[in-house]
């Protein structure tokens, strides 16, 4: 009823080719962004610090992996390590040049991760599918090995860990223990919005089409004049850039300090699951995936005891944890059976149904 295509006429090619051709979609997006900013002032610190900031960080990492796996069709298991490169690069840069604002370093740190990503992407020209996954697995283990073994990366810290020093923007602390969850949330939100907008422009433009062409059939793409090596390496670089920024945000804006172990193989799988559940080749799917895999267990952790306690059942923290695992696992299977193309596809179907509602045609 409210969601109608009728009456919206496209009079230019630009408006016809726009990403959000429907007025309702555009206003919806603006409303969501306003709501996200408003949340900073409405939400309590648990919601911001333990739910929203990690959700945004994982969304960004998922966008990164989605560019590689979803859009270009190259399977990678090195996401965790590429996130680590970003975090360590950011740490080195901001301790070596404390005078430069840390936001600059967060963006710059992604380039280091992009360079490393492109380097490990070199085999992708020859290796495909599962074999490429194994090659990126090597990146994961090698980089993790570096994080442990090169004390220079942590400035010879005895604890061997990264920690967030105090950094300010216009005199307001934005990093370190004194930064409020509110300021950190606003900063992370802004960075994620800017980078998502960039990614959207990339994947909808010439470069994105090149990636998609490579994914759908690399031989045909090559015959059409797309150079596979450059395109694949670009995908690796851009993907790693996003992962690197996400890694830097994860350590310095969310944890506030971390050991090398947070960039382990589990992290890579965690992000990969988000991409698969959310929907391969979809930006909004990255957000859906992050929400389902990260926020769902937290919600269950709060809801389950509240649901069970009226019946006089009090369960231990460990039982809740087991239940969380079982329910989230079941939901993943459920969603994959109902819609193998991920939540993004469900979203799309929902929108199409809504367009013609209340008629079925």
């Amino acid at each position: 009823m409210l969601y109608r295509e009728a009456g919206q006429f496209k009079t230019t090619y630009v408006s016809d080719a726009s990403i959000f051709p429907l007025r309702e979609d555009r206003t919806g997006l603006i409303l969501i962004i306003i709501a996200a900013y408003a949340l900073a002032f409405l939400g309590n610190s648990f919601l911001l610090q333990a739910v929203m900031i990690p959700f945004l960080v994982f969304s960004l990492a998922s966008i990164g992996l989605n560019i590689l796996t979803g859009y270009t069709g190259l399977l990678s298991l090195g996401t965790g390590a590429f996130m680590g490169v970003g975090a360590y690069a950011c740490y080195k840069l901001m301790t070596a040049f404390p005078g430069v604002n840390v936001i600059v370093w967060i963006f710059v740190s992604g380039f280091f991760s992009a360079a490393i990503g492109a380097l490990f992407g070199l085999p992708s020209l020859r290796i495909k599918g599962f074999y490429l996954a194994v090659a990126t697995l090597a990146a994961q283990f090698f980089l993790q090995w570096c994080f442990i073994r090169i004390p220079w990366l942590v400035n010879y810290n005895v604890s061997g860990a990264l920690d967030a020093p105090l950094r300010t923007l216009f005199g307001i602390p934005i990093m370190g223990p004194n930064a409020t969850p509110q300021t950190r949330y606003l900063l992370v939100l802004t960075i994620v919005i800017v980078l998502t907008w960039l990614a959207s422009n990339l994947v909808h433009g010439r470069i994105g089409r090149m990636w998609i062409a490579i994914r759908d059939m690399d031989l045909a793409a090559e015959l059409m004049g797309i150079r596979p090596l450059q395109t694949k390496l670009l995908a690796f670089a851009v993907s790693s850039y996003y992962c690197g920024v996400a890694g830097a945000l994860m350590v310095f804006m969310w944890y506030g300090g971390a050991e090398y172990d947070v960039f382990n193989i589990n992290q890579s799988f965690f992000v990969l699951f988000m991409v698969i559940i959310g929907g391969l080749g979809s930006l909004i799917g990255s957000f859906f995936g992050a929400a389902l895999i990260f926020i769902m267990p937290i919600v269950l952790g709060i809801v389950l005891p509240a649901l069970l306690s009226p019946f006089g059942i009090s369960v231990g923290a460990d039982t809740i944890e087991h239940l969380r695992f079982m329910i989230v696992g079941a939901l993943i299977i459920f969603f994959l059976i109902v819609e193998p193309h991920g939540l993004a596809r469900l979203w799309q179907i929902g929108k199409q149904k809504l367009l013609v509602w209340p008629f079925p045609y």
Binding site: Y255, E259, D261
Partner: protein, 440 residues
């Protein structure tokens, strides 16, 4: 549309849960326990969790809490995962906890800078950042009763005594098998420094976290190098695997020493061949103490514990009890200092600084002989207490030595350097502003 109904229900339930978050009465003290009964470290974590929970529960059941104030004990499952640990911290922060015990070095590190801002003391008992023993630099972090450097110096001292003097270590080879993480690498500088001075050789065998269960290559190298002694710094499944692997490769178990983390189950996994395996410890095993009997009577027998009866008194169970003993003592001291009944995190920080567990106090608590004395102060948040060596006799741990004092001067050099380093690396690390209490 069953799906829509389901999602509507879910949303409604979430909203309900959000509003119905348990409101805590003001006449209780909230003690969150970070535990891990799931995940790869559950083998160690479950016993510790039971020990911690049961002691505090026993205080509730027997005495009605501490100083007449009931304790609200809540477990938060971390799975030894930093992500979930930080989530737990955020979840409990709003309920004004008096102390947090992260029970993982990975979770401790991000919390250290936050402690002073959120005014919640951290009790990381003999793990975490060793440098946090310096109370003047880390007023909010406590890591009694000994640091890993203390532990290493004690093991070397013990080995030296066996050889007939530290100078007899010259020309010997000591293998160090450790978890390849900050925790396992921490004692290396001290070990190498001692090696240089005493003239023994060190062979390092790092075990990466993902290969904890597969140490055949490390033990193969150890077989080739033939070290005279092996020292282990491991955690979780690494300990059991190391014992098994050591037995299999025929390493003489009486020359195999470990820091204080292997449990009975770890030693048991080596079978009969594990006899002679030694580890440091600072508290008794077994349940022959009035306080532990009370746990049996008031908690375990009533079915209020998750632990089965035979687990009470095992080494890691008692370690959990020790942890809770420190929490309880911190709260009790805080009540004494402030005169308040319901204390806050700030009060408990002062309480922990004034912990004085001498023989008389331990007897009062029903734990006479359970552990050595422990006195903390404003500057010393660790105590650097002596530990003793215990040996696995095939079925249980047997205490085989008197308390071994750590080499305090050596440890102090490491400690001061590390604390200075930490404060320097974190430019703007706040100077201690918390006043010291007179008693300490």
């Amino acid at each position: 549309m069953s799906f829509r109904k389901l999602s509507l229900k879910l949303v409604a339930a979430t909203l309900l849960a959000g509003t119905a978050l348990p409101a805590f009465a003001q006449d209780s003290i909230y003690v969150p326990l970070f535990t891990y009964r799931t995940g790869p470290f559950a083998g160690s974590g479950t016993f510790i969790a039971d020990g911690m929970h049961d002691y505090l529960r026993m205080l509730n059941e027997r005495d009605g809490g501490i100083g007449g104030v009931k304790l609200v004990i809540e477990e938060c499952e971390t799975g030894y995962d930093t992500k979930k640990g930080v989530e737990c911290y955020e979840a409990v922060k709003g309920k004004s906890p008096v102390v947090v015990n992260p029970w993982s070095t990975g979770i401790t590190l991000p919390l250290i800078p936050r402690a002073s801002v959120d005014k919640i003391p951290i009790l990381s008992m003999a793990y975490g950042l060793s440098a946090s023993a310096r109370g003047d630099v880390f007023p909010w972090v406590f890591n009694p009763p000994a640091t890993y450097w203390d532990g290493m110096s004690m093991i070397i001292k013990y080995i030296g005594e066996k050889e007939g003097g530290l100078d007899k270590l010259k020309g010997k080879k000591i293998g160090f098998i450790h978890l390849d993480a900050a925790f396992g690498k921490e004692p290396i500088p001290l070990l190498q420094e001692m090696a240089k001075e005493m003239g023994f050789e060190v062979a390092l065998y790092p075990v990466a976290a993902q290969d904890m269960q597969n140490q055949s290559s490390q033990w193969l190298s150890a077989r080739r190098d033939k070290p005279d002694y092996m020292i282990m710094w491991g955690w979780g499944t690494m300990n059991g695997a190391a014992v098994k692997e050591a037995v299999r490769s025929g390493y003489p178990m009486d020359k195999f020493y470990s820091v204080w983390w292997p449990s009975e189950d770890d030693a048991r996994s080596g079978g009969a061949g594990a006899k002679g395996f030694k580890e440091l410890n600072w508290h008794a095993v077994g349940a022959n103490f009035p306080a532990l009997q009370d746990i049996q009577k008031h908690v375990v027998d009533k079915g209020l514990s998750k632990a089965s009866k035979d687990k009470v008194g095992e080494v890691l169970y008692n370690r959990g009890v020790y942890n809770s003993l420190l929490i309880a003592e911190g709260i009790a001291q805080a009540q004494k200092i402030t005169g308040k009944k319901v204390v806050t995190g700030e009060d408990v920080r002062r309480g922990l600084e004034n912990i004085k567990l001498d023989t008389a106090r331990l007897k009062e608590l029903g734990l006479e002989g359970f552990t050595d004395q422990l006195v903390l102060s404003c500057n010393d948040h660790n105590g650097h207490r002596a530990a003793f060596m215990q040996e696995w006799d095939g079925t249980k741990w047997v205490k085989i030595s008197n308390p071994i004092e750590p080499m305090t001067d050596r440890v102090k050099t490491q400690l001061d350097a590390a604390a200075k380093d930490y404060a320097e690396k974190n430019a703007g690390w706040p100077k201690r502003t918390e006043a010291c209490d007179k008693a300490s």
